[in-house]
Symmetry: C2
């Protein structure tokens, strides 16, 4: 989509700052400082602060959208589908935890791209919900409140980036090993 290397660098540095302090608290001067240039120079590569945010969020949101398409392979059991969703979140978080943070915390500051983003997020949740619903109908998963199961899984998966990037945080390997069983089978023996 975009192979301008300087632009990529700007977006990458900006994402790190957005993750730490949030979009609104980061200034164009902060972003420029992190690249050792002046704020005005940024505008040779990007059009606006808003464009930086939209680029970060929309790219990873689209990765989730296409990931969900593959999850919905009809041959899979509910448990396999849920396993694949967990892996999708782990993979995208490990690949770009800064973008995950922006996706989670700064999506409401999107302007032009906001409706497009909100539609993708709603569709993602609706597909997730349908998988859980089918799982209950087929007796694979417990018949408890679907919304609670949905938000419980999604809350954990969406904030993975916090724990993955912590010092002494969890590794990608232990996540792949222990997160699915923790979410699917619970904590109590």
């Amino acid at each position: 989509m975009n192979n301008n290397p300087r632009k990529k660098e700007i977006i990458s540095k900006a994402a790190r700052l957005f993750k730490k302090r949030g979009y609104s608290a980061v200034t164009m001067r902060d972003i420029a400082d992190s690249l050792n240039i002046k704020a005005a120079s940024l505008y040779n590569h990007i059009n606006s602060k808003q464009e930086i945010l939209a680029t970060i969020i929309i790219e990873i949101a689209e990765a989730f959208t296409s990931g969900m398409v593959e999850v919905q392979t009809p041959q899979l059991t509910t448990q396999e589908k849920l396993q694949k969703i967990i892996e999708l979140h782990i993979d995208l978080t490990v690949k770009n935890p800064e973008a995950m943070a922006c996706l989670n915390n700064d999506w409401m500051h999107l302007e032009e791209k906001l409706p497009y983003f909100v539609k993708m997020r709603e569709d993602y949740e609706e597909n997730f919900r349908a998988i859980l619903k089918k799982g209950i109908a087929q007796g694979e998963i417990g018949s408890r409140d679907i919304e609670i199961m949905l938000f419980s899984m999604l809350s954990t998966l969406r904030t993975l980036y916090i724990w993955y990037t912590k010092k002494d945080g969890v590794s990608a390997v232990s996540l792949k090993n222990d997160l699915p069983v923790t979410l699917l089978k619970g904590i109590i023996k």
Copy 2:
């Protein structure tokens, strides 16, 4: 602690705005507008924007700290302690979802009170961790990665406010009924 009714009103309106757009994106004019007064008038009741944020966050953080003390009753089993932690989060979220949002999203914008807050949060997590560790040692809970169990539960509990305040969101009653079993026993039958 503070029974000035106008000050409480300002803090309450500010919390609603902070929840929606975040501390940095909300201006003193926005807060004043929501009270139908001018920004300058706010300073007759509060000293600074920062004081508003600190008041919101520290009050609910202290509620979690004292809640955790009661959870640690030695007579309780691990499962009972975890049940009590879940109830604590549900109760405080239902009581003040706006403050929960600020606690989660805007704590890094605290200035003078930041070290005090961080200490409380670290102690809370450490106490939670100790409960899980003891549960594993006593064979009550599965011997998987403690950090993953900890962050899985905490992520869900800390973002409860999102789902509780959604239209068609989950009610306090279904949360108390189905959230503990979902977190402790998992989703798959």
